[in-house]
C-alpha cells in the first residue's frame, strides 16, 4: 500500500482504482468540510465537492508529483469555489480588497478559548459555521486552508498567490476574530 498521496495519484493514473479509493477516503472529509464552510448552502457544497473529484479524475494522467497532493487538491477546490462565486455574480475571494484594512475587528488578542467555552461550543452544532460566515472571505479562506486542509503558511501563500506576510496577517486577524465571535456565541 502506498502511503504517499502523490504516489497514489500516479498509481491511479496508471489504472489503479484502489489508489483513488485510498486517496478519496483520506481527503473526502476535509475537502467536504472545506466546501461546506466555503459555500452558502449544503447543496452547492455537494455539487462543488463532486466537481472537485471529477477534475481530479480527469487530471489523473497529467498529474505531476512535484507538489504536495493536498495543496494541489485544495487549489482545485478553491478555483471551483471562485468559479461558483463568479457564476452567481458574487465577488470572488481573489478580488476582495485587503481584509486587514477592511476588517473592523483588530487583532487585539489571540488567547485560546477556555475549556468551559470549548465544552459549550462543542455541544452547539453549527456554531463554527456561523462564526466562519462572519469572517471576510479572504480571512475565512486562509483559516480554512490552515485548519482544515492542513497547509502551512508557505503552501497557503503559494496556493493563493499571495505573500507570506499577507497570509500571516490574514491568519492573525481571522484567528482573533473567530475566537471573539466564538466567545460571544458561547
Amino acid at each position: 500500500m502506498l502511503s504517499d498521496d502523490g504516489q497514489l495519484m500516479l498509481a491511479y493514473g496508471q489504472g489503479d482504482a484502489a489508489a483513488f479509493e485510498q486517496l478519496y477516503t483520506r481527503y473526502k472529509q476535509p475537502l467536504y468540510q472545506f466546501m461546506i464552510n466555503s459555500c452558502d448552502g449544503e447543496a452547492t457544497a455537494k455539487e462543488l465537492f463532486q466537481e472537485v473529484w471529477v477534475r481530479v479524475i480527469k487530471s489523473r494522467v497529467s498529474f505531476k508529483n512535484d507538489s504536495p497532493f493536498n495543496a494541489w487538491l485544495f487549489r482545485i477546490a478553491r478555483n471551483i469555489v471562485i468559479d461558483n462565486y463568479r457564476s452567481k455574480g458574487r465577488r470572488p475571494v481573489t478580488e476582495s480588497i485587503d481584509d486587514t484594512e477592511s476588517s473592523n475587528v483588530a487583532p487585539l488578542k489571540s488567547t485560546s478559548l477556555s475549556p468551559e467555552q470549548m465544552a459549550v461550543l462543542q455541544q452547539r452544532e453549527g456554531v463554527l459555521y456561523d462564526a466562519l460566515q462572519q469572517l471576510p472571505e479572504a480571512q475565512r479562506e486562509a483559516i480554512l486552508l490552515r485548519h482544515i486542509a492542513g497547509l502551512n503558511i508557505a503552501e497557503i501563500a503559494e496556493l493563493l498567490d499571495t505573500g507570506l506576510e499577507t497570509i500571516k496577517s490574514r491568519l492573525r486577524y481571522a484567528t482573533s476574530k473567530l475566537r471573539l465571535l466564538l466567545e460571544e456565541m458561547s
Binding site: 478519496y24 470549548m118 484567528t175
Partner: protein, 256 residues
C-alpha cells in the same frame, strides 16, 4: 530558523483545531458511491481518449502519414535484405537436406515439394542433356574411389534458384541415389552411384573409357564376361553403371 517555520509555530491554534475536528459534517453515502463509481468508469475508458478528441482527426491523419512514410521504405527494403541474408542459410540448409536424402539413398518423387522438385528437375535435365558425360564421370569416379577412398564429407548441394546445371555437376553425391523422375511422359528411374566429391570432371576427362560402353550390347556382353570370369562384384558395378545409361533396358544379367 526560517520565517515559515516560525510563522507555522506562531499560528498554532489547538482550540480552533479541536472545534474544526469536532464539526459534525457527514458526507452522503450516495455522493461517495457516485464519485467512486466515476473514478472506476474513467479507468475503463481508453487511456488517451482525453487527448485525441482535441486533436483528431488531423493528428490521427498526420500520425498515419508519418508512419507510412517511415515504415514503407523499411518494408520495401526488408525482402531484399532478407533474401540476401538468407542465401547462405538456404544453401546450407538445402545442403544438409540434400545430404540426408542422398545418404539415405531414398527414392525421391517429383511431387515431394517445389524446391525438391526443382532440384530434381535440374538433375533430370542434366541426366538428359549430359547423360553420357555423367555416366562416364561416375564410372571414372568409382574407379578412383576404390583406390583413393575419397571422403564424402565435402558433399554440398544447393537448391537455390541460381543453381545451374554446371553447379550441380560440381556438387557431387557420395552414395547411391534413386531418383524417380517424371519428366513429361517419360518415367525414368535413375540410380546414381557415387559421384566423387573432388574434381571428378578432370579425372574423368583424363581417363580413357572402355570401348564396350559405346553400345548396350557390347556393355552387357562385357558384364557377362566378367560374371563368367567370376568377377561378380566388378560385374555388378558395371551393371549399375549400365543402368544409369540405359535405365529402361529390360535385359537383366544373371548374377550367381
Amino acid at each position: 530558523m526560517n520565517s515559515t517555520d516560525t510563522s507555522d509555530k506562531s499560528f498554532k491554534a489547538p482550540d480552533l483545531d479541536t472545534l474544526f475536528s469536532d464539526q459534525k459534517i457527514s458526507i452522503p453515502d450516495a455522493l461517495d458511491k457516485d464519485i467512486l463509481s466515476l473514478s472506476k468508469q474513467a479507468l475503463e475508458e481508453p487511456s488517451h481518449k482525453g487527448f485525441w478528441p482535441n486533436h483528431s482527426p488531423w493528428m490521427a491523419t498526420a500520425a498515419v502519414v508519418m508512419l507510412a512514410v517511415l515504415i514503407t521504405p523499411l518494408l520495401l527494403r526488408a525482402p531484399e535484405n532478407q533474401l540476401e541474408s538468407n542465401v547462405p542459410d538456404t544453401q546450407s540448409s538445402a545442403s544438409a537436406q540434400k545430404r540426408s536424402v542422398f545418404e539415405s539413398g531414398s527414392n525421391i518423387g517429383l511431387n515431394e515439394g517445389p524446391t525438391v522438385k526443382k532440384a530434381i528437375q535440374g538433375n533430370t535435365v542434366i541426366e538428359e542433356s549430359v547423360h553420357p558425360k555423367l555416366i562416364q564421370q561416375s564410372a571414372t569416379v568409382k574407379q578412383v574411389e576404390d583406390t583413393a577412398k575419397i571422403s564424402s564429407d565435402s558433399l554440398s548441394f544447393s537448391e537455390s534458384e541460381h543453381l545451374s546445371a554446371d553447379r550441380v555437376e560440381n556438387y557431387p553425391a557420395s552414395d547411391t541415389i534413386d531418383i524417380a523422375a517424371d519428366s513429361g511422359d517419360i518415367n525414368t528411374e535413375i540410380s546414381v552411384k557415387a559421384i566423387a566429391p573432388a574434381k571428378p570432371k578432370m579425372l574423368s576427362d583424363s581417363l580413357p573409357q572402355p570401348a564396350y560402353r559405346s553400345s548396350a550390347e557390347q556393355w552387357l556382353s562385357e558384364i557377362k564376361t566378367l560374371v563368367q570370369a567370376d568377377k561378380i562384384q566388378v560385374a555388378k558395378d558395371e551393371y549399375n553403371l549400365f543402368l544409369l545409361a540405359y535405365p529402361d533396358h529390360e535385359h537383366t544379367p544373371q548374377f550367381p
